[in-house]
């Protein structure tokens, strides 16, 4: 077992907590700042897998739960949008083995396309939500989350943010790994088949469960009250608590750990105990709105704090009601495609051919920046193909012929397959060209494996999904595989030819990421030593 105190990031602490809780399987899709959870779980002896996308990951987790095992499902905030369909109905079915969904939000957009506040999912889908404020709580709350999930027959949303996920702190690993319970399978269609007749009853049950959890929250010790000055009281959760304690050491503080459903009576009592009660939170005015709607008078944050992440300075400003704009951060060096990156020649070619490029999420989104300036749009995972098709349908012919969708290998398997189906089904008059930038890894998040790399998360061999064969089988007219670094001219001619045709075509620009090659070389060296 893992004795005593160690230094862990919040992500690592979640993995240790899940391991101690005898999780049967961790599933997820890589996404900053969540990625290290499953990598750590696998490293310390747990079973962890990368799924093709977050929806599949959650569905696998649901199956584990229905089979009686505990599961943890990890993703970044936008991944929960992908998994939202099973999530909302999972709240109705409830669980058998505990199920914990980790949402790693990114206020401040360190590495994301938006800064959505996923606490709203707890309210919308009716989930029990826990919010750790540091690495120790990330560990403690993960252990607790499985117990609460089973106790209340409900999935638990463990809501983290960048600074909880990626900050390191001292963690006391206090729990020995428990023995996994064996729960014999029992068929229960009322619980697990969500047809209208059964789902009606499940919804009523869920609303009752939320009331039970609220009653539990009133009596549990999941919040922390710091008795300070009666002049100023601060309600907060997550990393905001750390900033608050530093910014206002004299204040009374109510830190909430269980943040949905809220312990309203406790909050009301705290608010009544101080002269001025403010809510300090990152993201939306989630707590402030919920507390205000319960009729408890609190002071929400100003509009200026709806953006970006909090820090001690910004919390101090909120306390003194200072709404002057924050100083603009000085621009550092922008990230860029690595020297020797296979995407470089691909983007140079598309730029030189004057293409309108519908882009996607990955390292290659950096193709937007000079000297490439070869990406015109990027919305979400997998959007490149659908958006490209919409452009083709709408632009005048000369422009439509310039449209190319580019998508990475992992992103393609995440949510590009249905885009190809759309392309062969609703063919634009000018056809379309999709370039799959296949660098044989999920590079941006730190070189994770995916279903086409031939390796599992733990690097054991896996069946490699053949992207070209998939595209052909779906009905794409021509599928070509090119190394754009070694065969730049061939790639250029092929793109020109495909854009001139009315066919629906795919070019796979295949060459491994240079960082991935280094990783594999290191691995091979290790293997040969063995």
């Amino acid at each position: 077992m893992f004795p005593g105190k160690v230094i862990l990031s919040g992500d690592e602490a979640v993995a240790y907590g899940a391991y101690a809780a005898s999780v049967a399987l961790g599933s997820g899709y890589p996404g900053t700042p969540s990625t290290e959870i499953l990598e750590t779980l696998s490293r310390i002896g747990g079973r962890a897998e990368w799924a093709p996308n977050e929806k599949v990951a959650l569905e696998v987790g649901i199956g584990v739960s229905f089979a009686g095992g505990r599961s943890i499902v990890t993703m970044k905030h936008v991944g929960v949008n992908v998994a939202a369909d099973p999530l909302f109905t999972l709240a109705y079915t409830g669980v058998t083995g505990g199920l914990v969904l980790v949402s790693a939000d990114d206020p401040g957009l360190a590495s994301s396309q938006n800064e959505q506040d996923n606490r709203n999912y707890a309210k919308a889908a009716k989930l029990l939500m826990l919010e750790p404020s540091d690495s120790q709580e990330a560990y403690d709350f993960t252990v607790l989350a499985f117990e609460l999930s089973e106790k209340f027959d409900i999935p638990v949303l463990l809501r983290m943010t960048t600074r909880v996920c990626h900050s390191q702190g001292v963690v006391n690993l206090w729990k020995e790994r428990e023995n996994a319970r064996e729960i014999p399978y029992e068929k229960n269609v009322h619980k697990r088949v969500m047809v209208p007749a059964f789902a009606k009853g499940a919804h009523v049950k869920l609303e009752n469960i939320m009331k039970e959890i609220e009653a539990f929250a009133e009596t549990s010790a999941l919040e922390d009250v710091k008795k300070g000055s009666p002049e100023l009281g601060i309600i907060c959760s997550g990393v905001a608590y750390q900033h608050v304690c530093e910014a206002a050491p004299e204040a009374s503080v109510l830190k909430l750990g269980l943040t949905w459903p809220l312990p309203k009576k406790k909050i009301a009592a705290f608010a009544a105990s101080v002269k001025r009660c403010i809510v300090v939170e990152e993201g939306d005015r989630f707590l402030a709105d919920a507390i205000a709607s319960a009729g408890i008078p609190v002071e929400p944050k100003p509009d200026s704090l709806l953006f970006g992440e909090l820090d001690v300075t910004r919390v101090r400003k909120q306390i003194r009601r200072d709404e002057t704009p924050d100083p603009a951060p000085k621009a550092g060096r922008a990230p860029q495609l690595c020297p020797g990156c296979p995407h470089r020649k691909s983007f140079e070619t598309l730029r030189d051919l004057g293409c309108i490029v519908s882009g996607d999420i990955g390292c290659y989104t950096l193709g937007t920046l000079p000297p490439f300036s070869a990406m015109d749009m990027c919305v979400c995972m997998g959007a490149s193909i659908g958006v490209g098709l919409g452009l083709r349908h709408t632009l005048k012919e000369t422009d439509a012929r310039r449209v190319v969708s580019v998508i990475g290998d992992s992103t393609f398997l995440h949510s590009g397959l249905t885009g190809i189906v759309e392309m062969v089904y609703n063919r634009p008059a000018t056809g379309h060209l999709v370039v799959i930038l296949d660098n044989s890894t999920t590079a941006m998040t730190g070189l994770q494996e995916n279903p086409s790399t031939g390796r599992h998360l733990n690097l054991d061999p896996a069946y490699p999904v053949d992207l070209a064969a998939v595209c052909k089988a779906l009905g794409v007219d021509h599928v070509d595989t090119v190394d754009t670094t070694l065969e730049t001219e061939r790639f250029r001619e092929l793109v020109k030819e495909r854009l001139a045709s009315n066919g629906v075509n795919v070019i796979i620009a295949k060459r491994p990421c240079i960082l991935q090659m280094k990783k594999l070389a290191k691995l091979a060296k290790k293997e040969s030593v063995k």
Partner: protein, 157 residues
């Protein structure tokens, strides 16, 4: 060393070993019995962009992030980052840049040499650093980094 709260910010470019250096300082503070927190941003910053990492240690650390203008030490591995991160330093705070290494070029061990320079101020025991370096590097690489650490420490008078 008595430490109410010590704030260190490391800054440089992706690939220079900023994260490793801040990890090692975190370990050094932890093994010396301090509460410690470290924070940085991963992700896009790994692709050759600006990288910075905050380490805070003392009797009790709250926020994982060093507030702007409150760093006791700013350790910069790439001189152009002084312009970007200079305002992290508190008035009277200590700026450490590779220029203080003089003619000595530690090559890839720049991060470790700068840790040596930082430790000339922090004064954690050298044996602790040697142990941490041997933990992270093997064989000749460890020896080279121990030498870089010592030369970095000697560079600060």
């Amino acid at each position: 060393m008595s430490a109410e709260l010590v704030n260190v910010v490391f800054a440089g470019i992706g690939g220079q070993g900023i994260i490793l250096a801040s990890d090692m300082l975190t370990e050094a503070a932890f093994k010396s019995g301090y509460d410690v927190k470290k924070s940085e941003l991963h992700g896009m910053s790994q692709r050759g962009g600006s990288v910075s990492s905050d380490v805070r240690f003392g009797t009790k650390v709250w926020s994982p992030m060093v507030p702007r203008g409150e760093a006791d030490y700013l350790v910069v591995l790439s001189e152009d980052q002084v312009e970007v991160c200079g305002d992290m330093l508190k008035p009277g705070g200590v700026l450490l840049t590779p220029s203080l290494l003089g003619d000595y070029n530690p090559g890839r061990s720049l991060n470790i040499a700068m840790l040596g320079a930082l430790n000339a101020h922090l004064r954690f025991p050298e044996e602790l650093w040697v142990e941490l370096i041997r933990d992270k590097f093997k064989g000749e690489l460890a020896d080279a980094n121990i030498e870089a650490f010592r030369k970095g420490a000697a560079g600060v008078k």
